[in-house]
Symmetry: C2
Subunit: 246 residues, 2 copies
DNA sequence: CAGTGGTCTAGACCACCTC
DNA sequence: AGGTGGTCTAGACCACTGA
């Protein structure tokens, strides 16, 4: 470890915080990839020159943030969006009557476009930069349920094509991981009420002027790097946006 | 402790889980009230017959759920809605331009009413039971921002009056604690888009037919006991509903 | 069976707060 | 000075997994 354990040195940062930093570095660098096991607590303790209990506390925090997943008897794993539990944590849509029909993604297109200033700002790229735009409809059963416009920083996702999207799942984040090596860890959402314009009305098969929910989401990877800006629009006739406060 | 520590007995529940249960019981019974200090870790360890480290782990979990708050050098406290940090955790409204004007609550009335079946179901009272209904407008600066209808189980809140509400804060939860001994710990929200009807249009000073956000919230106390059902309606012209996903 | 995470303990020292 | 929570360690044993 960088800092001496206890006797001297006024412990600028707790040891376990430093361990968290080192583990994060290995996650960011791709030394341990999504879905893989990381070394055991004993090994990490030896590697970092701290006690096993200190490593445990560090991993506890990272597991609480859902960056790692512990599995007793097997080891500690890097969280992955291939895991359906993580998918459902990022899906805030629920059916009004309780049972959500299975969702299926239907990509409508994928283009390289010049982004507006709001999107450039959200993605932290310079004004007027070109970005990838993906449009899709999410079907619930056979009915169109959600109309999505997804913007991605072009330097990371330049070779994204509609074919790639067709192969992918409802969640795009598994795709980002497997095809582009980008791991989504966090998102911010802003929800508003709007009236259906001609475009969204057509894709959602609702009347113009119908009230719709607009969910704007900015998605982040490690080090708060923005990955995606997304506008999702849906009618709340059959669905709603759910949230838990604690 | 009920279960023997380790050598025999196949440890049905971990000790620290049992400690969590015991601490929760003291919270529910009101032995330790919101804002008060609870006994030190050392004292609790002696009281429960476990090591200080085990008490620490139990308190760690309860602090993570925001039921307790630790303050180094001072002690561990029962969380309270008098604390503004907790208030902001339960307020998901933010200004579109970033700075939210100070909020002020203006109660419109307080009645005892027969609740519809949806509200009875949410509050877990029998069909047709009478409940308290509070109507209020929340002002942001000088403008009406949010129109609220709050339903409360009448057996707990029977002697609620408009005068009591006038004395209270923007957050009703501090009032529930201090006046009715009910501590809110959790809420579920369902968000939908609607069109302004005559009533909400008048209170929010918007045109009829304007798209509005409807936030339905069910609030719970200890043991998942429902406390409150609330409908909040606001225009997203200047405000939005914010959320963080992790 | 060996290896992993999960629990529990005991003891040391640090950092902060109050008197 | 004496109390509180915060960090760190070392060691023991339990519970689960897979070869």
């Amino acid at each position: 470890m960088v800092t001496l354990p206890s006797s001297h040195s006024p412990t600028l940062n707790p040891l376990y915080r430093q361990v968290i930093g080192l583990v994060m570095r290995s996650l960011e660098s791709g030394e341990w990839k999504p879905g893989e096991v990381i070394p055991s607590e004993t090994l990490l303790a030896a590697r970092y020159g701290v006690s096993q209990g200190t490593v445990r506390k560090a991993i506890d925090e990272l597991a609480a943030e859902h960056l790692l997943v512990r599995r007793q008897g097997k080891g500690t794993f890097v969280a992955t969006h291939a895991d359906p539990r993580i998918f459902s944590r990022f899906l805030r849509v629920a059916a009004n009557d309780g049972d959500l029909q299975p969702l299926r993604s239907e990509p409508l297109g994928c283009w390289r476009v010049k982004a507006g200033s709001d999107i450039c700002h959200a993605l932290n790229v310079e004004e007027g930069a070109s970005v990838m735009l993906v449009r899709r409809v999410v079907l619930s059963g056979e009915m169109p349920a959600i109309f999505d416009e997804v913007y991605l920083a072009a330097d990371f996702f330049a070779d994204l094509t509609q074919e790639t999207l067709l192969a992918g799942d409802v969640s795009l984040y598994g795709l980002y991981e497997s095809q582009f090596g980008v791991r989504v860890i966090r998102a911010e959402e802003r929800v508003r009420a709007i009236l259906a314009d001609p475009v969204s009305a057509r894709f959602l098969q609702v009347a113009e002027g119908e009230p719709l929910l607009l969910v704007e989401r900015t998605t982040f990877s490690y080090s708060d790097r923005p990955v995606e800006f997304r506008r999702s629009i849906f009618s709340t006739r059959h669905l709603h946006y759910r949230n838990e406060l604690v």
